[in-house]
Symmetry: C2
Subunit: 208 residues, 2 copies
Amino acid sequence: MKRSPKLTKQKIVEAAVELFDSQGFDGTTVRQIACKAGVNVALIAYYFKNKKGLLEYVMVEYYEALFRKLDGCRHDTEWESLYDLLRHMLESLVRFQSEFYQVTRLIHRELSVESMLGREIMSTYLAKLKHYFAAVIEEGVEEGEFPPLQVEGVVIQLMAITSFPYTYPQIIREVFYLEPLDEQFVEQMVHYTYDFLHHMMTPLNTFR
Amino acid sequence: MKRSPKLTKQKIVEAAVELFDSQGFDGTTVRQIACKAGVNVALIAYYFKNKKGLLEYVMVEYYEALFRKLDGCRHDTEWESLYDLLRHMLESLVRFQSEFYQVTRLIHRELSVESMLGREIMSTYLAKLKHYFAAVIEEGVEEGEFPPLQVEGVVIQLMAITSFPYTYPQIIREVFYLEPLDEQFVEQMVHYTYDFLHHMMTPLNTFR
DNA sequence: GTCTATATAGAGATAGAC
DNA sequence: GTCTATCTCTATATAGAC
């Protein structure tokens, strides 16, 4: 029986994302994926070469879409200050991670194991992501819009805050009894990052 | 050939921690563990029932030690204010995560897959961890030492900031070119959390 | 407490028909 | 583009000797 190739490929990807997300890459078998997608096992090799190729496809697709969205912040929307742009970008990042929460979690998890693929993803996409934010902050500092900041430190903390609820959604659910995918929670998250940013822009009084 | 049982058990644990950390639980085989530990494969079943039992042992040991350390903050050291206590506890948490960085990373990774074990760890140890910090903050708010705070939100962000470098050390290394295990970096991390705390204790001006 | 040997099952990948 | 059948390898776990 012939099927639309586009549909089959997409069904495989969707099944893989769900299973990789919930069980991990190594914890998932190609047979499970094929079964969940309702297609034959051999088709995974046909479309993606092998299981690892499927993972790579998912990761690359995710980051390409993310950067398209972040580029949109810079070019398609109006912003009157770098501070404003930074907020746009952070909100986009949070919302993107929330929208594709399964891929977000599976990528972060696989990034935490030592592997060639992980290293490649980091050296290309994560380095790029860092640069996107660091560049705006540096520009703001140079132009005097922002106070002198330790840019790298700010970016690390922004990454930490924005990613935590989407890499550990079960902690949010089972320890804090909140639903990380609710629009309400997403708005909270966006506010947290705004507040954090605002505090970073406000010089510390002598206290510590 | 007979060996000291204590030594054998410990060798297995150490080998398992290294391998689980670098390759993930599912990505590690009991044979690799036995080989690295220099002991026979069957001894893993003898001491830990099975591979999962070994993981559980590692996780429980880690959290028990962490809470012993945090309890020490409350009782063994002097602190003049809740703010001061909170700082002590946060520094302890950061330093503990840094000291046992391998277990820190492997636990967080395994927490991010859906499993019975993960759920149990969260409902016991992570809930307890949250409570340790939330309790101090709530006390500070009630006694008027702290401004009114959204306690849960603060705790989430503290967890995010303090854990990020130790769950993604390779990001710190390969994207930011910093060494997360250096004392210098640890001190930076401690300062970040202090600053964050300080900012949280400082009411926001109207800006957003 | 430690070992060898093995039972049992399940993995990923592919050849080749349709 | 899809399928069946199978090859090959490797996994965990255990039984039972020492």
